[in-house]
């Protein structure tokens, strides 16, 4: 897409309306935990965070009218992050696995400042 088209596409977006939607979504994410249901909190907090990020990327960063390779590179990096998570999470989140066991000094979480000073960081 050439730059003149890129610029024209920007002018059709009602930015104040997008901002208003983002503010309403912020209100929902703040109100979610008040209901007291964990699943609702997760959806209103992280589900709405994804929607807000999409709205900002699409309407403010104009990633949808950018050259096609730009969103692809962004998605590729996000996939790398998921791979990092999948690779590292078992070491962090599990206490033992096939032919390995986490030493107790690593698996003990630090609950208090005193525990932290004693070198008991998870």
């Amino acid at each position: 897409m050439d730059d003149s088209v890129h610029a024209t596409e920007h002018t059709h977006v009602n930015y104040v309306r997008i901002w208003a939607i983002l503010v309403v979504l912020l209100g929902v994410s703040v109100a979610g935990p008040m209901i007291g249901i964990k699943l609702v909190t997760l959806i209103t907090a992280f589900g709405i965070a994804l929607v807000k990020a999409y709205l900002v990327a699409k309407n403010f960063m104009h990633i949808n009218v950018e050259k096609r390779f730009v969103p692809y590179i962004v998605l590729t990096v996000l996939v790398f992050m998921l791979l990092f998570f999948a690779g590292a999470a078992p070491d962090v989140m599990k206490k033992q696995g096939t032919q390995w066991e986490k030493p107790s000094w690593i698996s003990a979480p630090a609950h208090s400042p005193a525990a932290a000073h004693e070198g008991a960081h998870p």
Binding site: H10, I18, V23, A53, V56, E66, A89
Partner: protein, 191 residues
């Protein structure tokens, strides 16, 4: 011969090189913040102590700062719109409004941190607070860097010079906003 820097006049891969460079920065930053947030999520899911510690953060302060950043993103994109229409002075004014949002965010953050430190929650208190100060601190540094760069861009834009830079700093600023959109639920809501 033009005296303008080559980065403002040249295109690569179909994009002006300035915009290509900003996207490259954004992609690199995704890896930095993504690694940090991914590590935080692993620890948060594995240790209930994180939820106990997160209960001490103030959701209303976090929500207010989210509103500030969302509003500053609006002024940044309106500055871009003004720059596209060739109205440099208006773009500059809107960028200064964005800078105002950046410093509001930082001032609120400094009061918030002062309060937390006074209550004994320091970067060495526990792994949660180490993540909290590292993630929010790294983000605050990005806010500060963006505000400083925006000052230079706004002073040029006011003279109708280098208006394409308004879009470039805007892309960076919206990314900083997106990072906070994820930091907010992680640090302030998931308790």
């Amino acid at each position: 011969m033009s005296a303008r820097p080559i980065a403002t006049t040249r295109s690569a891969a179909g994009l002006p090189t300035g915009r290509l460079a900003v996207w490259w920065v954004v992609v690199s930053e995704i890896v930095i913040f993504g690694g940090l947030l991914g590590s935080y999520i692993m620890y948060r899911l594995a240790h209930d102590a994180f939820a106990e510690q997160a209960a001490h953060t103030n959701m209303w302060i976090g929500a207010f700062n989210t509103l500030v950043l969302l509003t500053s993103s609006l002024s940044a994109v309106l500055a871009h719109k003004a720059a596209v229409s060739g109205d440099g002075p208006r773009a500059a004014k809107l960028l200064w409004a964005t800078i105002g949002g950046a410093f509001t965010f930082l001032i609120v953050k400094s009061f918030e941190w002062t309060n937390e430190i006074q209550h004994g929650f320091t970067i060495t208190s526990s792994t949660f607070w180490s993540f909290y100060y590292c993630a929010a601190g790294l983000h605050a540094l990005h806010v500060l860097a963006g505000a400083i760069i925006m000052m230079f861009v706004a002073s040029e834009a006011a003279k109708n010079l280098e208006l394409h830079r308004v879009e470039l700093i805007g892309i960076y600023w919206h990314f900083v906003d997106v990072v906070w959109i994820f930091l907010f639920p992680l640090l302030y809501i998931a308790k």
